[in-house]
Subunit: 142 residues, 2 copies
């Protein structure tokens, strides 16, 4: 359970109490090889699959937002009725597969020369995101 004590420290350091629920969610989110792209629904499903216990949907929402506000999760702009989150909080971009509704990380070197040369006066850039929507070749886009 060394992972677990890591999570406890992480939570404490950011002023969040390490509750049973938050630790379970940490486990599902952060104890994995690859980065995880998910909607709240995906996460809730993942939790009930991996763990025998139920966590209230409200808690899942609260926790995801708390983690996002602390910078442990990134929210991704996808044109959809749902919110997507990403455990990869580094500066990176995404493909969005319109056939499967899945987000896929875009390697740094895939996007060449992205540079913003002008900004709105009086404002500060808080993020720059590139979203590349893809679909199967034979299917006409509407």
């Amino acid at each position: 359970m060394s992972k677990n004590s890591e999570f406890i420290d992480k939570l404490r350091l950011s002023g969040l109490r390490p509750t049973k629920q938050r630790l379970k969610i940490c486990e599902v989110l952060f104890d994995r090889e690859k980065t995880f792209h998910f909607t709240i629904n995906d996460l809730a499903k993942n939790i009930s699959d991996k763990i025998g216990e139920k966590i209230s949907l409200a808690t899942v929402y609260n926790t995801v937002h708390a983690f996002k506000n602390k910078g442990y999760l990134k929210e991704i702009s996808v044109n959809s009725h749902k919110s997507y989150f990403d455990t990869n909080i580094t500066n990176h971009h995404h493909f969005f597969d319109q056939d499967t509704n899945q987000l896929i990380d875009c390697d740094e070197d895939v996007i060449e020369n992205l540079k913003v040369k002008k900004n709105i006066t009086g404002k500060k850039i808080s993020s720059i995101e590139v979203l590349i929507k893809v679909a199967t070749d034979n299917q006409n886009q509407k």
Copy 2:
């Protein structure tokens, strides 16, 4: 009413019947100097402001989707619970002002040389969008 007959032609050409409601919506959307960024709600408000008559919300939704499918409107990926649309259908990018929740067109030359060097195999790129989120300088991002 030369604008009006233009709209009638435009609709007919794309196989949409030029109904009273669609013409009113055309007027609100396309009879303006600058491009218009809007949510369905904005549009509905705009319609009732400019025009004395009510158009059912369902019709506004139907029409916006029809126009989008015909390529007269673009849907923009903004991280939000709402969908944003744009009357500027050329290839371009956006700023999103997090203070006011407004989309702002990004001039072509602001983004330099954006190039996608690799793609998901078996898929076709249907769009590439850059979204630059901005906020007032003194306000800490959450």
